[in-house]
Amino acid sequence: MKKQLIAAALFLLFLTAVSVSADSVVQVTHGVSYMCGDSFEIIFPDQLATASQVTRASSVQAEAGVDERLMMVRISFRNLTSSVFNGFTSDSFLLTGHVRDRSMSYQPIIFQSYDYAYGSSGSTVTSAGSLIMPPLRQEDILLVYRVNPVLINWELHVAPRSASEPSYEFENARYEPAEIQPCDGIFRFTTIRNAETGEIIYYDR
């Protein structure tokens, strides 16, 4: 009888563990819109891509060193909190890669408006700290990371946090502070495109 009860308890614990882990990560399909908490709507319009060089607005913005690749992530996100984000912290968009039990984490070396290369009037964002984002605004951003290409199972940890104290006034609008479930999401990518050759690498965990 005791053994049966213990087995039942262990089974329940197993189910609980499964239900916890199954919901915490999402596998990305590009072009699909996701809600992160109640506070950010996120889309990855393109596949993740790697390159050896990133050229924007007619100038080389970054070059990969020996045994390095530049990982490019295009992310479009809308602020659904009720506060004005005054820049983002460097940990707001962390990319991680894994090999066996080792995990590496990277901060973006480029954080720019996606249309920056075309010189559009709206493309004034040149760093995470310079992006001021009032409620309901949507931004299309290119993130570039300098990564070790040997790693696999790429994940993007998105936890947008204001670099300085968020404000509640912008232009002629006034916002009221509200308790909203923050965005703390992990987006897993199973395909990565080589921007130079067009080859697509599939990762199956």
Partner: protein
């Protein structure tokens, strides 16, 4: 006995987690599956033509509001638009009502059932819009039984799904409005959604 208690405790804990986790662990969900938390507190829609009384006034929305980048030759700056609302104000009192002050009107933006920004009335743009419709500006006395049609304008970000208008009529010398009504507007018609390119006129 102790083991039974332990099992009972674990079972209760498991049931609690099963109930609470789908809510708590839904950090990321497809937007189409997202159900916004019950916000509540949103007022009813005042459909076009329906009257609503507020003290000596009766207010009507005279059609769908319009969200537009331009208003009678003026362009809204940055990523803002003009929210233009045509209203009718009827004097249901027996004496003439004086000019309304600009802070008699406020709009709030609503997205996913939640109120975000509150925008103040734009006096100059309201007068420009009224002139474009060949209507009097909002600062005009209204005689008993008379209806004044006018346009009111707010410079607002055009990302909201719905709009709420608050009408609290105030006159010169009034410290507080004697009444206040708050209602959702009919769905806005969106024009000129795309942002203007650099070099164009700004408000």
């Amino acid at each position: 006995m102790k083991i039974r208690h332990c099992i009972l405790f674990l079972t209760v804990l498991f049931c609690f987690l099963q109930i609470s986790l789908p809510v708590r662990a839904s950090d990321v969900v497809l937007t189409r599956d997202y159900r916004p938390p019950e916000a509540g507190g949103l007022p009813d829609v005042l459909y076009a033509g329906m009257p609503m009384d507020c003290g000596p006034y009766q207010i009507r929305v005279m059609g769908q509001p319009v969200l537009t980048k331009s208003n009678n030759g003026m362009i809204a700056s940055k990523d803002m638009n003009f929210l233009i609302i045509r209203i009718g104000l009827t004097n249901i009192d027996d004496k003439t009502l004086g000019w309304l002050l600009p802070d008699s009107f406020l709009v709030e933006e609503v997205f996913n059932g939640r109120v975000y920004g509150t925008y103040t009335f734009n006096t100059i743009m309201s007068a420009k819009a009224a002139s474009g419709f060949n209507l009097p500006a909002f600062f005009k006395p209204i005689k008993p039984g008379e209806t004044m049609q006018t346009a009111i304008v707010f410079k607002a970000y055009p990302g909201a799904q719905e709009w709420i208008l608050t009408f609290s009529p105030k006159h010169f010398g009034d410290e507080e409005a004697e009444c206040s009504v708050r209602f959702r507007l009919p769905p806005a018609v969106i024009q000129n959604w795309y942002a203007m390119s650099e070099g164009e006129a700004e408000e």
